[in-house]
Amino acid sequence: MDKTKTFLITILVALLFGIPISIGKSQTDILVIHSDSADSTSAKEINRGLEMYLNDNPDFANKVSLEHYYLDMDNPNRQKCEIYLTEIQNTKNLVSDQKPDLVILSGDISQRLIGILLVAPQSSNKSYLKNNVKWLSEHGGCAKNNDAKKKLSIQAAPITLNYPLKIVFAGVTTDDAQEYGYYESTLTAGIYKHLFIPAVKSTIEDLYNAIPGETDVKPTGIIVIGDPASIASPSIQKLKSELAKKNAFDVPLKWNGLQKASKWEDWQKLIQAAKAHNSMVFIAGYSDLISDELTGKQIVQWTEACSKFPVLGSVDSFIADGGMLSITMSGQEQGVTALYLASQLLSDQPESVSFEEAKQFRIGMNKSLLADRQISLPFIYESYSRESDNFRDEPSQVPGCQ
């Protein structure tokens, strides 16, 4: 082959490979790290929000390339020290390999496992890092295992990157984002996911009014039951401070307090006690109770079957697990806002970006279970739950309270 021909072919090859590389380099890479699996309600909701924002902002959509990584922590078998260590390592590798311009961290675990390690290099205050290692030790069981504990404190070390990584936290459930050290960096933004109390209050009242019969057959109070983590969450604590006030409700319901159950037997006792006290039940969360022997479905279906009055839940998967009515904060809004904040952080003036408070809530409904209790809610509930893609019409799969 003559030299000119070889030279021309080399130019062609360089162009064929060079052009895709240069196009790839000009795009802004966003890595979305989800706490849950791709099939989870929360991840689907967030992704719907992300997609919605990209569809509405085609210019931004053309400039960015979105990659997703799912930590799969909604699987209770993965909520353990060894898997935490593995995922810390995996995501560290992922971030240092892919070098994204911005990371969106969705959900509590991704923020605990990864967020803090990403923020830390941009801050001088390391105290929250230490606190976080403590939190992870307690929640993943590393505290019981000395080797793992030592490894966690080594592995949960900040990721050192040689460029300013921007971070958006979606679905922040803590009271204050500073717990994760978010304010330590000017390159972070986020959206809180706190329960919207007026919406919860109004739903409880509508549900009360929809229970057939006179006041004497209706509940006299409402009790919040959940696993320790959900009961301690800022949203539920705020709910308590608002609804425990005298005459908080516009219906004759009194606040019967918060009750936590760390074991299934305790949970069952609390549900029976609520029945005895003529109380409606509001479920704050039950993920800590889920184990190899007990699924979320079993918990919710039993609770629904054994409760005297309709049960309201505040968990994303409540309807999928067999619940009747749920009110949660909208994951879709989290997705839309996360990308809006990302676009702001990636713009020329990122200083003005801060944390936002979620306002949109999401209703979930299983019409068949409502019908079983002869409850007819205003039609807007059905229409809104259908719109939120959280509507079901499936009869109860348990024969009764057993």
Binding site: M1, T6, I9, L12, V13, L16, F17, P20, I21, G24, K25, A38, H68, Y69, Y70, D72, N75, P76, N77, R78, Q79, K80, C81, E82, I83, L85, T86, I88, Q89, N90, N93, L94, D97, Q98, K99, G141, N145, K151, Q155, D292, E293
Partner: protein, 503 residues
Amino acid sequence: MQQPDGGNIITEPLPTPNRQGLLATLRPHAGWLLSIILPLLIYFALKGLSAPLPENSLRFIAIIAMATAMWVFRLTHAFVPALLILLMTVLLDVAPRSVAFSGFTSEAFFLCLGIFIMAAQVFSSGLLTRFSLILLRILPKTRFSRNLILFLNGGLLSAVLPSPVGRAALLTPLTFELIDDIPRVRDQKLDLTPLLISLTHGATLLSVVFLIGNPLNLILLDLAGNETRKNFGEWINWFTPSKAALLVLILGWLLAMLFLTINNNLPSVDKEKVKKRLANMGSITRHEIGAVLALLVFVASALTINLHHIPLAWIAFGMGLILYLYDVATPQDLRANVDWGTLLFIAALASWQPIMEYLKLDKTLIASLRTSLDSLQLASYVDQKFGQIPFLILALTAGIVLIRFLLPGGPAFIILMTALIPITNDAGISPWTLGFTILMLSEGFILPYQHGAYTQAMTELEQRNLLTCYSPRKLFFANMFLMLTRTAAVIVSFWYWRYISTF
């Protein structure tokens, strides 16, 4: 690389026709009969259940049953049943064409196609022979040198060529070139056993350690989902957790060699003859330069994915085409030296996961295994029962060895992986961990018919009239020992994964 008989490279050739006897005559008939009856039986048995699966799922399971019968009885080349599954999936409206044939657009398919083109060019260029002769000249004059060359070549090729039998096809002629210089003495039988072990295991032993060492590694990534692909889908990310296994496997081979070469009667290498042969080859050709450059660019691109962000599949595919742009590969390479059977097999296997997902069969499988999985309490093995993992691996080895007497490696892996993938969810571990374990064990072999590389070596011995030049007993025990080495490699890997936090 294609086998001399034109057979498929990751699967085994058909039973040899000279095996007569009643059993051998009845075997294909029984196989064909079962291929007809078994799908119907399974279809109607499942349909008769109180809560039957959806119609499309029933049809798919019946089609799989037909293919499995064909694989078990080795009625035809392994890629044929795999393609029949896709064909019937479309004809019976089990899944749309875009889903059924999605494997043909998978990264695994393009990666293999590109690398096969490169390998075909390397094969025809004569580069490997020159490289081996140079090694022979450099290495000390011992009986071990030839074995080391074979194993080293096999190991290096494992890092870049995704076909164990393709590597064996490259190494087989080399093996006999390495003994060409030995003067034959009348009535003296040469003992080729160590060379056979180095050839067959050099081509196969390290295939799971490197991402592109085996096409089934790529299928594993397809089956395991996006997260696994992100964590292990790059050459270096696959290799890092495989290092412990690599060490154990090399150690196992060295021990086997120590035992086999101790009383071996092969004379050591005649350096003068090697020099003469090298001189006869002349100076390095344009095709050899092309092959070296292609391999270097490919390896460099694979190691720098973080910089250019072009997936390995497109690099390989691109490199394959570039060889043609520069005229260093020929259409003849594509016709004669690319293993189309394996390529079709890979594409067909890569379609399994999309079809299963489309039919939601993966979820059905998990639900149906729920009770048995719950009783196993798999989640506790990662922490509380970690010390019991060796027993689990030994049990798995025993099961896989038995299955491998029936099924070829590729189908055995895909069926086992599909059936056992729910375990990863229950144990909370990555599907890669399970896939690596199954692949490491199912790629092992004891008898010649169990692996194409082994069969190919035996065929070559037969053609060269050297069938009496090895010890079947020693070969059997060496294969058994290396099978156990694979088990040890998996067990050690579990400790290593715990150490580097890769579950």
